[in-house]
Each structure stands twice: as structure tokens, then as C-alpha cells.
Symmetry: C3
Subunit: 210 residues, 3 copies
């Protein structure tokens, strides 16, 4: 299990369970939404490239990690809420909530995009640019789309354009670089590109015409 | 075609067509939602385990059964509604409606969970606990999730935790028992376990913290 | 790339980007919804028949065509909106909007239904009526269902019964005819049948009981 898988699983489990809490689901709903967000992208990827049954269904690690993460998120939230006193704190919490959601979502997106590209290259032994990019994109955004659909929301990816745009920067960076430098360094650079582009887009409120 | 398939198809077709009626769809929408709920779980299962094209697309039996069921539900509802007079009856209908929805959904869930596990074991010749459990769970809840998403509702499985919990009891029971006793008896016990756990959970209103 | 693929891709990209505009998404959301609607049906079809990775992920043509279409739709809409003056025009626009949506959706539905049947026959070398019909139906309605789910709407196919009914007429026509006459002519007749049935149903407001 690679570092990216661990980062991605934890991050997406956090974002899934936080959305479930916001939707006032119970502990089990929180668990399921956390696991689905974590496992979803990889499962869609494996079905798309024909690697069935999906690897994540055979390896308990990812499921265990995301389950523990979801439970920890639930406990922290319970603890935190009990100690909350004034409205002032509530407002700060709200800000923290959005920041944590943003970063967990971004980390998961970045990690699974790179993982999707790696899996496509190694499983299909292909170098087709479009195919690799497509599967990378789907792996990255898939977990979040499932999460949002199950929670009854319009997927984030359709509302925040920088979501997918950041992905495309990372995909292009990784694809170009892995031909020239060691694969793991190319992966790291692609991963960071996604984080940086999304952070900058948020910070400077880059917008596209509507 | 096994008994479980017949029970599951009829039960899920009832739950799908009842939701379509509630959403004021016309006869065709009722038919489609009934068929999708019946066929959906098995189709997802076959795609996940790589048994393509899905068996249910090649065998008309399941489609025919669920179509007939959906039409019968529509006719009964039409007939019943015509005869309804007082509000008192309406209230009793409402109760009946929820009970029927609960039992059709529970029977479909139980039947397709077991069917999903059986198909995984026989198609992949595997004994991997996690894989079998995952595919069983997806087969059981898949039809209902498709039904709820298409009808614009947050899936039942995320709101009623006992939904998936009951499934897990049945899965564990079947998985442990089929190593020791005849497969068909293990399947029956797993099936009944899901029914019983879900009924008890509903009856005694077991709840998890929110 | 066949004529049907070009027609279907353009038509579905129009319907997807128009819905995205209505939902007030930005340029990127419009692009994504346009592409997903175009590529979605074919991708689902390939996953269902086991032709992985889906052909559309390897061939940039469809993606390029639908991207250009989505951008053109966006530009025309921007241009048109700037020139709109009176309410009278707005009302006519509204009518035009619904007509354009209806026709783009119908053309995409017809084209992809036929393409789905052709792909099933040639990829699986099968003549099984139900399988071919099922995959054709899923290919035809799949893109639109993904579009509607992602945009947070109850799928069109469940609300307008003639949607799927028209499909079934075309499927039956194509399936019967391609045994006797050249495949391309059978495809054209099936395609036209879907257009005609849907147009007539809309024109004369054929309805099913609710």
C-alpha cells in the first residue's frame, strides 16, 4: 500500500464523514459515506480498466483505514461540540469546518488522480495520453461524486471548476515528467501541482465566466 | 432461477413501483423503476465481479417477473384508491403503505445479499471473506440505491443504519455456516437472519448516536 | 467514426451544456456536463458488455467534438443574452430553449440507442434479442441519466414515458430489419422511428395513466 493510498483514503474518509455529519446522519451513515468516498474512486477505476473484481474489495487495508478515520472524525466532532460554548466559537468552527473539508477533499483528489494514472499505466501497459488522463480524472473525482450523489447534493466538481482544472494540471505534469524522471518523483510533483493549483485558485478566487 | 431470485425480484419490484407511485410517475415510470430496482443489484454485482454482460440482461425471467409485479402494484393501487372513502381509511392505508414498503425492501435486500455472495463464490471460485462480503452487500443494497437516486431521494441505506447492519449479520452468518453445512441451508439461515435483525431493529427502534 | 456517433455526440453535448447553463454553472461545469452526457452512454455500454477500457476513453474524437459543441453553445448563449431586450423575446427564447433541448435530447437518444445495439452485436457476436435491446436502451438513456443525476434532477426518462417507449420502437424496428436488409439501412430506419415516435408523442400529448 503506497503513501498516496493512505493519504487519499484518510483524506476522502474525512470529507465523506464530515458531509454525513452535516447531513445529520447517524454513526452508520457516517461510516458508510466515509468508506464509499475512500473506496469509490478506486473501484470505478478498476471497473473501467477491466481489473475486476476491484482490488479494493480484496484488500481490507483501505476499508479499515477509512472506517477508523470516520469513527475518529465522529468522536472528535462529538467531543468538540460538547465543549462549544459561545457563538464566537461556532463561527470559528464553521471556518475550520470548511477549511478541513477543502483540504481533505483536495488531498484525496490529488492522491487518487495520481493513483488512477499509475494503475492504468501498469495494468494496461499503455502510454495512451487520453486514456491515462481520463482514468486518472475519473479516479480522482469519482469518490467525491459518489459522496455528493449519495448525500443528495450536486457534485462539487460541477460547481467548483478549479476542482477538475487542478486535476488536469497534475495529470499533464505527471504524464510529461514520468517519461523523463523516476516515476515516484513524477508522481510527487503531479500530486503537489494539484494541491498548489487548487489552493491558489481558492486563495485568489479565480473564476470562469458563467 | 432460484427461489431467492423470484422472491427478491418481486419484492424489489414492489418497492420500486410503490416509490414511483408516491412520486406520481406514470405507468411507464412505475415499470422502469420497478425493473431497475429488481435488476439493478444483480447487474452491478456482475459488472463488479467481471461477469459481463450481466446475466440478468440475457435472461428475460427476472425482467418479466418484475414487469408483471409493477403492473399488478399499479392496478391494485388504482382499484384501492377508487374505493377509498373516509380519512380513517386513508390513515390506515398510509400505515399499510409503510409496512408493505418495509417488507418488500427487506425481502429484496435479504434475497439479493445472499444471491450476491453465492454468485461471487461460484463465479470467482474464491473464499476471500472481504470480497464475498463486499459484493454481497453491494448486490443487496445496489438495487435500492439506484431506485432512490433515480427518484431523487437520499438512499435509504444512509438513513436507516439497520439496513446495512442487518445485511452484515446475514453475510457473516452465511459465510461462517456454508463451510460446515449444506450451502442451501446456510443461504436460508443468512436470509432469515437479515429479516429478523431488521424486523427487531424496527420494532424496538434501535438507534445509533448521531 | 460513424455519422451516428457525430450526431449523437453533438446532440447530447448540446443538451448537457444547456442544462448546465440553466443550472447557472460556469464554463467548466458546462464543459464537463456536455462531455459526460456525450461520452456517458457509450462508456456505460462498454463496461456492461465487458469492452474495457471503454472505446471512448481511447479515442479523443468524441471528447473533442462534445467539448467544442459545449463551448459553442456557451458562446451563442452569451451573445444571444446580450442582445435580448424585451420580455417578448425572452418568452420566445424560452420556447426555443425547450424545443432545442427536446430535439438535441431526442437525436442523442436515437443515435446512441442504435450505436449501443450495433456495438453489442459486433462485440459479443450475439443475436440474443433481450441482451441487444437492454444494452441499446442503456446506451441511449445512460448519458441523459448521468446528466440529470449530476445536475440534481430526477431523470427525464422516468418522467416522460415516451422517452423509453420511443426507444423500444426503434430497438424493435432495427432488430427485426437488420436480419433482412443491409445493416446501415436498418440502423437508419430504427433511428428515424425513435425520432418520429417521440415527436408524435410530444405533438399529440400521448399520456399514460398515473
Amino acid at each position: 500500500m503506497s503513501v498516496f493510498e493512505i493519504i487519499g483514503s484518510i483524506a476522502f474518509a474525512i470529507s465523506g464523514s464530515m458531509l454525513a455529519i452535516k447531513k445529520e446522519m447517524d454513526l452508520f451513515g457516517i461510516l458508510i459515506l466515509g468508506i464509499v468516498t475512500s473506496v469509490g474512486g478506486g473501484a470505478i477505476r478498476d471497473i473501467v480498466i477491466g481489473n475486476t473484481p476491484p482490488a479494493m474489495f480484496q484488500n481490507p487495508k483501505c476499508t479499515v483505514i477509512s472506517s477508523i478515520t470516520a469513527i475518529v472524525v465522529f468522536l472528535i466532532w462529538k467531543l468538540y461540540n460538547r465543549n462549544t460554548i459561545a457563538e464566537k466559537i461556532a463561527r470559528r468552527t464553521d471556518n475550520m469546518y470548511h477549511n478541513l473539508l477543502f483540504w481533505s477533499d483536495t488531498l484525496g483528489l490529488a492522491a487518487f488522480t495520481i493513483l488512477g494514472m499509475e494503475a492504468t499505466i501498469s495494468f494496461l501497459h499503455t502510454d495512451q495520453c487520453l486514456l491515462i488522463a481520463f482514468v486518472g480524472l475519473i479516479t480522482g473525482v469519482g469518490g467525491g461524486i459518489l459522496r455528493d450523489l449519495l448525500a443528495g447534493e450536486i457534485p462539487y466538481v460541477l460547481q467548483k471548476h478549479i476542482y477538475a482544472t487542478a486535476c488536469i494540471f497534475g495529470i499533464a505534469g505527471y504524464y510529461v515528467l514520468y517519461h523523463f524522471i523516476p516515476e515516484s518523483i513524477a508522481a510527487l510533483i503531479g500530486f503537489c501541482l494539484i494541491l498548489v493549483v487548487r489552493y491558489l485558485a481558492k486563495q485568489f478566487e479565480w473564476n470562469l465566466p458563467r
